[in-house]
C-alpha cells in the first residue's frame, strides 16, 4: 500500500485547509442585502410599536414606504451588478441568492396583498419567519453564523408570542440582531 511522507501529509493538509477557508468565504454572500432588508424590517416593526406606545406620531408611518422603495431600488441595482457576473459564481452562491429573492418576494407579497390576513404583528412575524428560513438554508450548507442568527430570529418570534406589551420590540430585535446582524458580520468578516 502506498503512503505519504510527513512532508507530503503536511502539504496535503495545508491544501485542504486553503480550500475549506475559500469555501467558507464563498458562503458569505449577499451581506449587504441582509443588512439593508434587516434594517427595513426592523424599522417597520419598531415604528408600529413606537406609534402604539405613543412615542412617535402616526404620520411617521408615511416614511416607511420610502424605506421600502430605497431598499427595492438598492436590491435592483446591486442585483443587476451581481447578475452581470453571476455566471462566475459557484452554484451554491446562486442558490443562496435564489432563496434570498424568493423569501423577500413572498414576504413582500404577503404584506402587500394579505393585509386582511396578516394584521398587526402577524405581518412582522411573516418577515421574521422568511428571514429565519433563508438563514437556516445557508446554515445547512455549513455556515454556523447563519445557524446562530436563524435561531435568534426564530426565538424572537416565539418570545414575542408571550410578551404582548412589547411584541414589536422583540420582533424588531430579532430582525436587527439576527438578519441585519448576519449581514453586518458577513460584510465585516470579508477578506
Amino acid at each position: 500500500m502506498e503512503s505519504l511522507s510527513p512532508a507530503q501529509a503536511r502539504e496535503h493538509i495545508e491544501m485542504v485547509d486553503r480550500i475549506l477557508t475559500r469555501s467558507e468565504r464563498s458562503l458569505r454572500v449577499g451581506g449587504e442585502f441582509f443588512l439593508v432588508w434587516g434594517l427595513v424590517g426592523t424599522s417597520v416593526t419598531l415604528a408600529f410599536q413606537l406609534i402604539i406606545d405613543g412615542r412617535i406620531p402616526s404620520w411617521a408611518l408615511w416614511v416607511l414606504p420610502l424605506f421600502f422603495a430605497a431598499a427595492i431600488l438598492f436590491s435592483v441595482l446591486r442585483g443587476r451588478q451581481l447578475g452581470k457576473c453571476s455566471e462566475g459564481l459557484p452554484l451554491i452562491q446562486r442558490e443562496f441568492f435564489a432563496v434570498l429573492w424568493i423569501s423577500l418576494g413572498v414576504a413582500f407579497f404577503a404584506d402587500a396583498f394579505g393585509f386582511h390576513i396578516f394584521t398587526t404583528w402577524a405581518s412582522s412575524a411573516v418577515w421574521n419567519i422568511a428571514a429565519a428560513i433563508v438563514l437556516f438554508f445557508i446554515a445547512v450548507h455549513g455556515n454556523r453564523r447563519a445557524l446562530v442568527c436563524g435561531i435568534i430570529v426564530l426565538v424572537s418570534v416565539a418570545a414575542a408570542n408571550f410578551l404582548p406589551t412589547i411584541t414589536g420590540y422583540v420582533l424588531a430585535a430579532g430582525m436587527l440582531f439576527g438578519y441585519a446582524g448576519f449581514g453586518l458580520i458577513s460584510l465585516t468578516s470579508r477578506d
Binding site: M1, E2, S3, L4, P6, A9, R10, E11, H12, I13, M15, V16, I19, L20, S23, E24, S26, L27, P90, L91, I92, E95, H141, G142
Partner: protein, 94 residues
C-alpha cells in the same frame, strides 16, 4: 490512509465538494487547475469508488456534468485527514 485520496488532485476535488451541494465539471476544473482529461480520469475513479455522485443536467439548454460528495466520500475524507494528522503528530512527537 485511503489509497484513493493519496492523490493531491482527488483530495482537492473532495475538499472542493465538501461544502457544496453540486459543482459543475468546469468549476471543478477551474478550482483544481487541471486539464479536462486529467480531471475526468480522477473523477471517474472517485465515482467508481462511490465517493462522488455524478449527474448530467441541462443548464440554459447546454449539457452540464456536475458532481456531489456522497456520505461514503465524506467519511473517507474525514478518516484520511485524521490519518494524516496522526502521522504529523507522531512525527512531531518523535
Amino acid at each position: 490512509m485511503d489509497d484513493l485520496l493519496l492523490s493531491k488532485i482527488r483530495l482537492g476535488v473532495i475538499a472542493e465538494l465538501l461544502d457544496a451541494e453540486w459543482i459543475a465539471f468546469s468549476d471543478l476544473q477551474q478550482a483544481t487547475q487541471t486539464t479536462n482529461g486529467n480531471l475526468g480520469a480522477h473523477l471517474a475513479k472517485l465515482v467508481d469508488a462511490g465517493y462522488v455522485a455524478e449527474e448530467k443536467v441541462f443548464v440554459a439548454r447546454r449539457p452540464q456534468t456536475r458532481y456531489r460528495l456522497t456520505k461514503t466520500g465524506r467519511a473517507a475524507f474525514v478518516e484520511h485527514v485524521r490519518a494524516m494528522q496522526r502521522l504529523l503528530e507522531k512525527e512531531s512527537a518523535s
